[in-house]
């Protein structure tokens, strides 16, 4: 499979990147590590004629305690003893991503903005043409849930749930200025699934910010997949909480790999603020999360199984985070 030629730019400032983007009305993609985008380009998935690489912008590669630049390579981050010590839950998610070779190129921002995946979408031009294109690329129907309005491709990043349970924020730099928003507000859960984020045209994710409270929380991440390497998540479960006297406060549960966007379940965890999370309550909470998700059949493992595993994985993660210290 060959990569069609494209125009490549390597600006050295965010402003220059914006200018290049604005000057290309035919469309451009920002290029980070390329481990997701370039394979998709080989498959002719939503090709654009221009790529603007962000790899020469020093600001994006900075690491500064609680602020991590979006172009920091995952491999560098997982070897950053300071970062790993502060955020062990995120470190676990990092180590579960793809393979060491992929992580050497892949970036933090790239993982957060990973293209959603579906076995009708992540296929070659030949494969898709022979079946008929889908609405996520070149077509007007969905092969997973036959209809013409919404895409059900699955969000497959590991870091978003792991960061979301720590209340991480992202800084976005657009031609009109900069803004900082909670990480999960980046994702457009109410949208059509094709437009998956609230990024404005030309906007660049510059960094991820972790609040001071993040360091006070116990956190974990676990990932369901067929193989313990290479594979995207069939389910990713992140749980964090602050444990005081055996009681959990600031309890957060977030999932990835199960729906179109990463998702947090504050409506289920907020009422439990400060409550003792004993075995039955953890089981009940896990079952409630399981009941709230709606996976579809577009990844390797069947959706009914993935859904049941939400219950198991969430319960185990809760036990790991709060169980050891919970009131018996």
């Amino acid at each position: 499979m060959h990569l069609d030629p494209f125009e490549l730019h390597r600006p050295t400032t965010v402003e220059e990147a914006h200018r290049l983007y604005a000057e290309r009305p035919a469309g451009a993609d920002y290029l980070a590590g390329g481990t997701d985008l370039l394979p998709n380009y080989k498959m002719h998935l939503n090709l654009r004629p221009t790529l603007i690489s962000l790899d020469r912008i020093p600001e994006l590669a900075r690491r500064d305690g609680a602020r991590v630049g979006a172009m920091v390579r995952l491999g560098d981050l997982e070897r950053d003893a300071d970062f790993v010590g502060r955020y062990p839950g995120v470190a676990r998610a990092l180590r579960e991503i793809a393979t060491p070779l992929v992580r050497a190129s892949a970036t933090l921002g790239g993982n957060l903005l990973l293209e959603t995946r579906c076995f009708f979408f992540n296929q070659s031009e030949f494969w898709r043409a022979s079946l008929g294109y889908c609405l996520k690329a070149d077509g007007d129907r969905c092969h997973v849930v036959p209809q013409k309005e919404r895409c059900y491709a699955t969000f497959s990043g590991d870091l978003a749930p792991a960061l979301a349970v720590l209340d991480a924020e992202v800084e976005l730099a657009g031609p009109g200025g900069r803004r900082t928003i909670p990480l999960l507000d980046l994702y457009d859960r109410a949208g059509d699934g094709i437009r998956r984020t609230h990024l404005r045209p030309g906007e660049i994710l510059t960094s991820v910010l972790l609040p001071p409270a993040a360091r006070e929380r116990s956190a974990t991440y676990s990932k369901l997949r067929v193989r313990p390497s290479f594979d995207f998540p069939e389910l990713g479960v992140a749980v964090a909480a602050r444990i005081v006297d055996g009681r959990a406060t600031e309890l957060r549960i977030a999932l990835g790999g199960i729906e179109t966007c990463p998702r947090r379940f504050d409506e289920l965890t907020t009422p439990l603020e400060g409550a003792p999370l004993d075995g039955p309550r953890r089981r009940e909470l896990a079952a409630a999360v399981q009941a709230a998700v709606r996976p579809v059949h577009n990844t390797f493992l069947p959706p009914d199984y993935r859904r049941r595993m939400v219950g198991v994985y969430v319960r185990r993660a809760l036990t790991e985070v709060v169980g050891a210290t919970a009131v018996p």
Partner: protein
Amino acid sequence: MVSPGPPPAYRLLGGRIPYVDGPLKVTGRAEYTDDLRRPGMLVGRLLRSPWAHARIRSVDLRAAREIPGVVAVLTGDKYPTPFGVLPITHDETAIAVERARYIGDIVAAVAAVDEATAERALAAIRFDVEPLREHSDPRVGVDPVTDPIHARGLRGSNVQKEVLQNFGDVDGAFAHAAHTVRVQGRFSGVTHAFTEPLVTIAEATPDGRLTVTSATQVPHYLHRALSEVLGIPMHRIRVVKPEVGGGFGGKSDPLPHEIACAALALETGRPVRMLLDREDVFYTNHGRHPTENDVRIAADRDGQLLAYDIRALIEGGAWSSFGTVTTYYNGVLAMGPYRVDNFRYHGRRVYTNRPPSGAMRAHGGTNLRYSIEVGLDELAERIGIDPFDLRVRNALAPNSTTVNQFRITSTSFLRCLEAVRRASEWDAVRPRLPYGEGIGLGCGFYISGSNSPIHFAPDIPQSTVHLKVDMDGGIAVHSMQADIGQGSNTLLAAIVAEVLGVDLERVHVQRVDSDVSPIDLGSYSSRVTFMMGNAARQAAERLRDTLVRAAAELLACSPGEVRVGHERFETSSPSERSVPFLDALHAAMRTEGALTASGAYRSPKMGGSYKGARAGTAPAYSFAAYVARAGVDPETGEVSVRKVWAAFDCGRPLNRLAVEGQIEGSIHMGLGQLLGESMNYRGARLMNPALLDYKILTPAQMPEVEVLLVGEDDPEGPFGAKEAGEGPLVATLPAVANAIYDAVGVRCYELPVTPDRLERGIARRRTEHRSWKGVG
């Protein structure tokens, strides 16, 4: 019987011999087909059918041909002669003729100055087709159907081959059996997933010759198919095989892209290189057949096996490939490692509009063996005896004949069982494992070289080896045997060096080139060590005899008094004297110059005289007994294989390093099929033609492996050796499946055992209130 005495010791053979081509491979200097470049070389690309089944009414190539840089565009009408690996089932075409038979079938080929131009040309080809009924269910295909995939299907159905065999009195045995078990296994298709993709370079030259360089396991079959389809005598075609990056059976058929590439070379008069994408490789497939089998086993009250009654429905995909052999093997390979005197088999292989299935490592034996070994585990439990004891009770005797007249010579199966039982501490460990942890036994049996050569002239030797040695003392070895990474070049060199007493560095195994390499039938059916090994030994012994005569003259003694020493020839009479190898060589060259020698091997006549009697006959068989430890997460169904103890009878291992590599690789491949690999289809459509969703086992999942080589010398194998390339795979799957059962009480009848399937099985066991190891 007279005791044979201690087996002889050898200088090189039996040790750990690093691959002679290792330094080149690990430094990236070894030459594979895609490393070669020729002046003026064009890029060849293939257009694949987007239709599962369609009649091609017409095709318009004008727009494609007009694109600047496009040199040739071909469709199937130019070279319509069908071919196939088996002389009796020629139903494949290089480029589809009149009909496209699966999504991915080749319908046109283009040669252009570069890849992008070739792709543009493919996109400009316009077909007018009539869609035909799509056949993707072999259960439907056994009956007459509308628009069968091939005219040669039995009675208007899609059945490509049907085998009915009946030995002894199966119904009588079942009627009187104290115990019967039945396993209905379902197996997804799996593919070889070799590292080096398929690639061919072809060049037609003004001297009227065609040179085809290809990643192939069987240069000779490719040579023959090229000649047949292109209508060129074999002596005007030269087939070259450089290094090959894995095959596992997937490069043993002559493949359509190889012929299409050669056709483009003839058409253009320029070299054409055709490198297939991974997706193309999936569509080319020829991998292990999707299969449903139904294995019934009868035993008496003590566990003596009385009968097998076996049925198999084998999905062939669009072509025959090795399918006739597959259809036999899925039954007859039940004939070891146990003695069973009543045997019935009904096997059918059915065409479907899917990528063709063919031969894959442990061809025909893997799925059958799985169902038998799982069935024996059930039987042992039913009778209440240890699974080891059940196997010991039924082991085939050495120098015996099976009910279907297979000739069994050496077997160290009992030694395998004993060794693995001891090494795994089976008796101590098995009762102690808690819920979620299990231990299982699975055994194996495989042919060591098909006795029946796939050849239009079946009486020529299956292997020939030529040696040439000149003044420099280097020994050139020529043979069409195909090293595809398994180490046959190293073995060839080691055998020659062993016999002549010289250092390995003197022996230079030459690249396979049909102009100079004598025919060997290549790397399939685990035949290379046995057949090439015997041929090489004979050639080396003939050369040795010439050198010994020359040495005897120099030493003034009789040839009978000369011994082969290390790099020299020695005599002890009348006193200890010797001549260096080179002196003997130069003396021997005085009359005729460079020395040459030839050796050949043809397996002895064997097998019965009934229809299909040759299928499964082999000059020797390998035997295996594996124990696996596995952990199962009872809530998620996720399996961790903790360790595999692999006791294997390959006779005498000639290169322990290579044998261990083959066993470890086989276990890796077997675990892949058991735990994740699957060609997933929706109807005729392959859903996962890529390595991300085709779940080969990762290194992180690979268990520790303890290899136990316990075979005794085989009487006919070279230096006592038998095969170790395929037999090591088959025991892996049932050993782990039986360990999974021991862990959580769930039988796995459907492969792959993905976590969702196992989790569902555990849930079902609970719903049925069957507790296991005290857990409900």
